[in-house]
């Protein structure tokens, strides 16, 4: 594996660690965008150009902006003065250490890993489009339905509540 791949992986992991550990939420969103860009670079180096560019468009273009909007709408942009961790955070760290130990052991000790690098497969946009329109056309339609339902659901959930029955001055 090329050293550039390792460096990209380290940058991705650093972005993820900062996204999960900084106190200010806007800085967290910025670090998250760096982590997403690193994952997109890893996709590009693995030969999955279409998924890499889709990652940039969807994650950095849409989800990061959505998260920044949510941070601003919930007025949580400034750093909190209290602790940012939950009350039982040590249990979460312990479970995380166990999960990573098991995953790393399984990856490093598995015998199902091919030893030699296979030739880079052709994943041109034409092949992907052909497959999406022939073999995977039903999942594609279902994903369209799911996205429509999610969009309508998100609008309905975030819609301002009708304030005819709350006399307490709730917005």
């Amino acid at each position: 594996m090329s050293p550039f791949f390792i460096i990209t992986g380290i940058v991705t992991l650093l972005g993820a660690v900062f996204a999960m550990s900084l106190r200010n939420l806007v800085h967290c969103a910025l670090a998250m965008a760096i982590a997403f860009a690193g994952v997109a670079a890893l996709f590009l180096q693995l030969g999955a150009e279409f998924v890499g560019f889709a990652q940039i468009l969807i994650y950095i273009g849409a989800i990061a902006i959505l998260i920044v909007f949510a941070i601003l709408l919930t007025r949580s942009g400034e750093s909190p003065d209290k602790s940012v961790l939950t009350s039982g955070w040590w249990a979460g760290i312990a479970v995380t250490a166990m999960v990573f130990t098991i995953l790393g052991w399984a990856v490093l000790s598995s015998s199902a890993v091919p030893k030699e690098l296979p030739a880079a497969p052709a994943a041109s946009v034409k092949n992907v489009g052909d497959l999406l329109m022939t073999k995977y056309v039903l999942p594609l339609e279902i994903v369209a339905l799911v996205l429509t339902a999610a969009m309508i659901g998100a609008v309905l959930i975030a819609l301002k509540e009708d304030n005819k029955d709350n006399a307490g001055g709730q917005p």
Partner: protein, 103 residues
Amino acid sequence: MTPLQTCLLISALLFSVGFAGAVTRRHAILVLIGIELMLNAANLNLIAFWRFGAHPEALNGFIFALFSMALAAAEAAVGLALVIAIYRHKKTSNLDEVKELKG
């Protein structure tokens, strides 16, 4: 270490970081960011197995990663809408203070 193992280790680390953030931070939006990082780690696994596994010309892992990203986008939209609705209702997005299902 083979290239596949390198990819899988990076992905396992990314998953662990996202998981640690999702279970230890008390702000709801950070939990969602952690879930997105875990989904990214899963996508990295799919692409790595597609690239280094058997029959990469069938593009199975590739298409699976595309569908997984579409579902992640839907999940993020609904999750952030829920966070905004909870904030509007309870005036907080601190998960330690959101304890009851009753409105």
